[in-house]
Amino acid sequence: MTRLQIPIQDSTLQNGLRVVIAPDATAPVVTVGVYYKIGFRLEPQGRSGFAHLFEHMMFQGSENAPKMQHIKLINSSGGVLNGSTMYDVTNYYEAVPSNALERVLWLEADRMRALKVDDENLRNQRDVVKEEVRVNVLNQPYGGFPWLDMPPVAFRNWANAHNFYGDFADLDAASLADVQKFFRTYYVPNNAVLLMLGDVKPEEGFALAEKYFAPIPAGATPPFADPAEPPQREERRGQVEEKFGTLPAMAIGYVMPPRRTTDWCAMALLDQALHGGRAGRIHRELVLEKQIAVEADGGIDDIFGYNGPSQMTTKILHKPEYSAEATLAAFDEVLREVREKGISEDELQQLKVKWRSDYYSTLEGGRGGYMPRYGLMHLLACFTLFDKEPQLVNTILDGFLAVKREEIQNVAQKYLLPENRAIVLRTPVTSDAKEAA
């Protein structure tokens, strides 16, 4: 078996900023990322959607690179850039020809040190974000399903359960003072990690990090709301109206075992057994064999990227001639079989080979056809911010490859239970099959 080893070096500046470098000179391209340990889970109450709106503001100008200059300076250096807001982190990243490394670090340092935005920028980006919500959610068939529909049904703690894209009233209420406060609280070097991957010599990378980021003063350790959930003891159900789509949809989410436990590794392989494409048991039974569903997929989203409650979620679009209850019964039958019989040794071996292969692709992978090493960046950042161990990138695979058959059956019996799940029905207003939950 060939095992991939990524050379990784890391260091921490005086102000607490962690710096991680993974050199690879294959192509003259370098990927730079800055991750802040703040996501939409921990945004303030009464300000739903603020973490994401704030992410947009980070492209609106900083002291030495005003409005429109961030984007212009990256693009005109031959690079691409973006940012995204997740549950527990927000990232900003660029992939550029390696001769632009210093320029990118200067830009990232400038906005970490001195974001400079005004009311006009805020109004502009509030409008842009509303159109983003319309194009992705309000004007799309199955928009936001299930990632926006599931949390309010599954969780009880506001941190986990609110609308992450934001209610428009909350977006409208956001002020420039909120932006400045959020920036001062969470966007401090001691709450972030800087990553450089690809065509960079580690000693040069560390020297540049020192030059541009060391002058930024550390801040107070940010306060974080506790995302812990009260124990769940009953199945939870909710229903949402589908305005455009023609098929009834259903999402079923099971609460995941805690991060980096034996159960968590076993659950990841069980997820592969259940949701691994056309070979996965759920797709095979519901789409290929019983032909109840048109789509049945999903699984654990971004397994390494969460630092709080999360779920393994199945998403099903089923034919209108089958009721929601009949569809759910077929789904339950798949899970019952795993709980009762477990999986064969042969199936486990297949799952492990596929898991290893997928893991390598994640590390190499672009995002949407661009952004080389996005996956490696994301894993290094999460392992640094959540675990303080970037080297986990090279060792975490061991835990998954060591999973035994009994452990798979054991997590199926322990976690795949009605009292550990939430179900959301998304029911078309025009469909013949109108089901009560």
């Binding site: 005003p66 693009n75 250096s77 031959g78 320029r103 004007n139 691994g276 494409g277 034919k319």
Partner: protein, 463 residues
């Protein structure tokens, strides 16, 4: 027009000297049966990516039914003489492999990726799918019923509705007009038709096998010969397609999508194919107009006005005809304002030479992102296959940057005048008729359709 004055940066570090961009060497071969092979090695991860292309797709067989080649590809992966569907899927997993079979207008393809240590059995499976697909009756029936649900569903997506209408307007009786079948056409698909398409298109003389990844090319070539050498079959006969219409004057096509809380704008005109000598300068002009984040259109209607989240323009490259398009999903009350800005930026590029500094920025952008393709196996595969499938010069990749950098403001002015055909752009808007019809009418004579693709009679407004 921007309402906010541009500001400048202070103390930006200069770019350091560039490292040379060098593309991995390609090993080419052709087997006795006509199969073309292109291999390139890169060793960052212990995997490889491959694609077996056939140089024909939906357009070749559209007289039988729309997207018949795509349906054929879908059923190809569901069974061979030796393996049932479930066996295929489990074997792929055992080999750490992913596989997809698809077809577009001009090509059909089996794409795959997997661990290098499993390359031979993966190629054997690909070989089986390409030669011995058995089109099991039950699998075909299931996929057909599945497709019926999909064609109903796609009519609820604003993006799909806009694309469908523009293609009909630009291509008329040409095969490229059809991007999806009707429910009745899907119901009429027959298994024998799929088998006919398969026999015609999936032949070695019509095929290109491309592999990129962690392997030794000479060893890989021997494996390929072993696996594919005894395959036989001729190229399908080429067919004459009707000439697409040349729409004159701006016209507006409103697709009424009741309840829309936003309007999808898509405007387009005919342009050129990838092989055309003007292709690179058009690509650069497009990049500067709306092909990049830093482009004029994005800066105007997103960063300055906040009308939209994701405006963009593109040059679409079908093998026989290319077209230019610009799209944005905008707030319902700014449809007219957005179209005004879309045309303002087009007309400005047609009237005023681009400033030298802006041109240099766009040249840097395009040449920089071109090199991003070097960093992943998929990126390399995509660049190499673009060259092969469009029959571009063999030094295309190596000379691209130099050529893009040679263009002047005069070249871009000429490209914009020739290909951003402002006066004859066809405008599609998908949204709620009551909220946008008056605004849309300002831009040309209007025709109205429902979301099933039917003309709506004048004076009749459903919903």
């Amino acid at each position: 027009m921007a309402t906010r004055a541009a500001e400048v940066s202070f103390g930006v570090p200069a770019l350091t000297p560039e490292r040379a961009v060098s593309w991995p060497k390609r090993t080419r071969a052709q087997l006795a049966n006509g199969l073309q092979v292109v291999l390139a090695e890169t060793h960052a991860i212990p995997k490889f990516h491959g694609e077996l292309f056939f140089r024909a797709g939906n357009a070749l067989v559209v007289d039988r039914a729309p997207t018949l080649a795509e349906m054929t590809a879908t059923v190809v992966r569901t069974g061979t003489a030796k393996r049932a569907s479930r066996q295929i899927e489990e074997d792929l997993r055992r080999l750490g492999a992913d596989l997809g079979a698809t077809a577009g207008q001009d090509t059909s393809a089996i794409s795959f990726a997997g661990l290098s240590e499993c390359s031979e059995p993966i190629l054997q499976l690909v070989n089986e799918l390409a030669r011995e697909a058995s089109f099991p009756e039950a699998e075909f029936e299931r996929e057909r019923r599945q497709k019926l649900e999909e064609v109903k569903l796609e009519r609820t997506s604003p993006d799909f509705l806009a694309g469908e209408r523009l293609r009909k307007v630009l291509f008329g009786a040409h095969p490229y007009a059809a991007i999806s079948p009707s429910e009745a056409q899907v119901a009429a698909y027959r298994r024998e038709d799929l088998q006919g398409v398969y026999r015609e298109i999936y032949t070695p003389e019509n095929a290109l096998l491309m592999l990129v990844g962690d392997f030794e090319p000479q060893v890989m070539l021997k494996t390929i010969e072993k696996v594919f050498a005894d395959w036989e079959g001729k190229k399908p006969a080429a067919k004459e397609a009707p000439v697409p219409p040349k729409p004159q004057g701006r016209r507006v096509y409103l697709v009424h999508n009741p309840g829309s809380v936003q309007t999808q704008i898509l405007a387009g005109c005919h342009a050129i194919t990838r092989k055309h000598p003007d292709w690179l300068r058009l690509g650069l002009t497009n990049s500067l107009y709306g092909g990049a984040f830093n482009s004029r259109l994005v800066m105007n209607i997103r960063e300055d006005k906040g009308y939209t989240y994701s405006p963009r323009s593109s040059v679409h490259t079908l093998r026989l005809h290319g077209y230019f398009s610009v799209s944005a999903a905008v707030r319902n009350d700014v449809v007219a304002a957005s179209l005004t800005e879309i045309f303002y930026e087009i007309d400005k590029l047609r009237a005023v030479p681009v400033p030298e500094t802006e041109l240099a920025d766009a040249q840097n952008y395009l040449t920089g992102v071109f090199s991003m393709g070097l960093a992943t196996q998929e990126g390399l595969l995509s660049q190499f296959s673009t060259v092969e499938l469009n029959e571009l010069p063999s030094d295309y990749l190596e000379t691209y940057r130099e050529k893009v950098r040679s263009f002047t403001p005069t070249d871009l002015l000429a490209a914009a005048r020739k290909y951003f055909d402002s006066a004859n752009m066809q405008i599609v808007v998908v949204g709620d008729r009551a909220q946008i019809e008056e605004q849309a009418k300002l831009f040309g004579e209007i025709e109205i359709f429902d979301n099933q693709g039917n003309h709506i009679q004048e004076g009749f407004c459903p919903g």
